[in-house]
Symmetry: C2
Subunit: 148 residues, 2 copies
DNA sequence: TATTGTTATACTCTATAACTATA
DNA sequence: TATAGTTATAGAGTATAACAATA
């Protein structure tokens, strides 16, 4: 099926500009719907990375989060103090330290996702069936654009 | 025209979850495509607010950016030192101070937007015509979701 | 007396430099 | 000798409390 016939051809630049604004606005709105203000953005990001990738070393976390190793040590320390991560020695390299999520962190992440999604789900439920179907087709495109 | 018939019905919750992840990922990717690392996020946000709303008082800026007045005073000071904003007295209320963008700030904002959009436009150009048309229809929905 | 904005001070977060342990 | 991680110290950024000026 083709949607191109239904729409005037829009240049990539105009579309990119509109998409950028819309995406940033929605992301900003989503950020305000946090489950808790107890954790900083960096701490949340580290928890998210560990959830996505499994156990990571301090160095890997620093690289993923674009932070220097000493800063990541501090973040990991704070998360460890909060009981959200644990350190364990690397199997093959005694210099490295692997960081893992605790059960408490997993449920915190689940709860956070549930609440934030719940807000968005309310908004999505307000859309028409056609609009929801359209959005469902567009989401994979957002992922493709982001992963380049 | 209807897209609902083309798609299995997806619950609002599932769609919201997918949309949330896709939007956050793209927003994160867009954030890395800054025109400069000279300004902090707070400083950029203030410039953006002034661009959108025109001259605002220090108090209004603090409320918009969810920051305490003393912090906003500091941010405005730094932007003023950089020649990006100027202070002027409020017309009716002698206590208030209105902050305006300078010409330099306006061109900086334009340049920032151009470069960031340029990156996204490259990715968008890789899409098919159908995909671009689909995206063009979806973007207004993002705005509507964000504005609630 | 209340409100707007600023100044004084303390706390948090991150970075650079120096140090320890392992490869 | 190089690498992973930590500790020590310094530089931003923001918050609370106190102050000055205006309504």
């Amino acid at each position: 099926m083709s949607y191109a016939n239904d729409m005037p051809t829009q240049s990539s630049t105009d579309l990119a500009s509109d998409l950028r604004l819309g995406c940033m606005r929605l992301a900003r709105r989503l950020r305000t719907e946090r489950v808790s203000d107890d954790l900083t953005l960096s701490q949340w990001a580290v928890l998210g990375s560990l959830e996505r990738h499994g156990g990571l070393t301090v160095g890997e976390l620093a690289r993923v989060e674009r932070v220097k190793p000493p800063s990541m040590t501090r973040i990991v320390n704070s998360l460890a103090d909060a009981g959200l991560v644990v350190r364990r020695p690397h199997a093959a390299d005694g210099r490295q330290v692997v960081v893992d999520l605790t059960e408490e962190a997993l449920s915190l992440l689940t709860e956070d996702r549930r609440r934030r999604t719940a807000w968005l789900a309310l908004q999505v439920a307000e859309l028409t069936d056609d609009e929801r179907a359209l959005l469902a087709r567009a989401v994979p495109l957002l992922d493709r654009l982001a992963s380049t």
